[in-house]
């Protein structure tokens, strides 16, 4: 089964309900879309992520937040890419919302008011990547000790730690 080439043209993905709905809602919030390996990814501007999640939830297009995580593309800028994996149990479909964050100011709005399940996931990203979530009810380290210095999952943090 050779890999099918990825579709990156947003015009071709307009028939997807999630893409269509987000474009109809705020076309300036969507910066791109990608369909690769049977998975749909939508790039959202950082200011609109909480509202986009709230919109998809209100429209009934997603009813579960599976996962929230981040990848560090250091030394490229913007270095962080956050991935929100949303699931629709009703339609049996997943969608990934992505937000790009720069290394200078890695902060964005928390989605805990929309999905309480994001609580631990956001704390984990704060702890291990140093991404700050504005409006999170309890943004403190969750894995590492309170007095730990640095954010271990960043690419400029050595695998063996500082000695």
């Amino acid at each position: 089964m050779p890999l099918a080439p990825a579709i990156t043209d947003i015009e071709q993905l307009k028939d997807r309900p999630v893409v269509a709905d987000l474009l109809a809602w705020r076309s300036d919030a969507v910066t791109g879309a990608r369909f690769d390996r049977n998975e749909l990814t939508i790039y959202i501007v950082r200011e609109a992520i909480r509202e986009a999640c709230a919109r998809l939830k209100a429209q009934g297009l997603t009813d579960f937040m599976s996962d929230l995580t981040c990848a560090d593309f250091y030394p490229r800028e913007p270095r962080f890419e956050l991935a929100y994996h949303l699931l629709s149990i009703k339609r049996k479909e997943r969608v990934r919302l992505k937000v790009r964050l720069s290394g200078e100011d890695p902060s964005l709005e928390s989605i805990v008011p929309v999905w309480p399940s994001a609580n631990f996931f956001e704390r984990e990203l704060f702890d291990l990547f140093g991404v700050r979530f504005l409006g999170h009810p309890y943004l403190r380290r969750i894995m590492m000790p309170e007095d730990w210095e640095g954010h271990p999952l960043r690419k400029d943090y050595p695998v063996e730690g500082y000695r």
Partner: protein
Amino acid sequence: MGHLNANPVLDATEDKTMILNMGPQHPSTHGVLRLLLEIDGETIVRMMPDIGFLHTGIEKTCEAKFYQQVVPLTDRIDYLCPMVNNLCYVMAVEKLLGLEIPPRAQWMRVMLAELQRISSHLVWLGTHALDIGAMSVFLYCFREREDLLRIYEMVSGQRMMTSYFRIGGLALDPPLGFFDKVKKFLDRFPEKIDEYENLLTGNRIFVNRLKDVAKINAEDALAFGMTGPSLRASGVDFDIRRDMPYCGYENFKFKVPVGNDGDVWARYVCRIEELRQSREIAKQALEGMPSGSTKAEAPRIILPDREKMKTQMEALIYHFKIVTEGFAVPAGEVYHAIESPRGEMGYYIVSDGTAKPLRVHMRSPSYANLQALPQMCEGRLIADVVAAIGSIDIVLGEIDR
């Protein structure tokens, strides 16, 4: 729900309440979970889970390994069902590679994953009953689990950290006599489940400790990210194996048990029924086991057989290349989710086109399920916390990673 953890410091200035520290060295927290309880007499006013005691940085370690070297690390995430973790990881990488797996390997994977579900649920049942006070059930459960561990040992050489699934198939073809042993176990198992049920299901002490305890409704359960049997006990009919099939699950017939009440008892009933259904699936996989190879046709990715490696130049070269420099995976990202015994286990892998992953993230079901614990326990008694922890079946290894 918004009040949860709203106040960082538990405030004990009011003379009515006190702070109780439960764990991390508490036998019924199933590992090293620490719970901060604010209590008023025996009643819990507020609860705050504190985790991270078992954090080993597996996700960071993965980034320094070749793709095939990550497989043994995934065993250590959820140590009660290592093969399910292997399955999720290898399927995610196969999705990145666009690799097709032969049917025999798929059927073997399904069979072993279901056996793992049984052995994982057996540990849950034994320890859950132990927490409640029914000590002997633990011994019964571990008796059957021992049989299963011998089966894993037979097929992979290891009882617990099996690492049997490989990217592109299985490590080896199962040995002679393996299927007979599995068949013997599956034939014997239903009466063992009846035995557990005889000990527990009609036991009035057990039932009274479980019924109407630690309730959570479907809406809250979804909001807190609960999955698996804990979610289905609240009445949400969702099982990834049936609704978004992977690894050939669409070929198997099984029922998905769903509860209504969302209490500890409903979770108990769901898991007991899952034991029977998992046995059903494993039996179907065993009876319909296709013949053929257990490895995909991809010499650059899968290590050649030992015999070929020793006799053929080309196979030796491939072997050398895979071991020393790994194999490049086309750039991209995937999120692959499967139904682990505890719920939705997902692997998010980002590849930059080299032989080492740029990022491996494990979405562990226990991590999300734990978030719902305060919602279940607040307003109830301390003794109910023990029942609630047992009922969401957490594994701290996959919470802390």
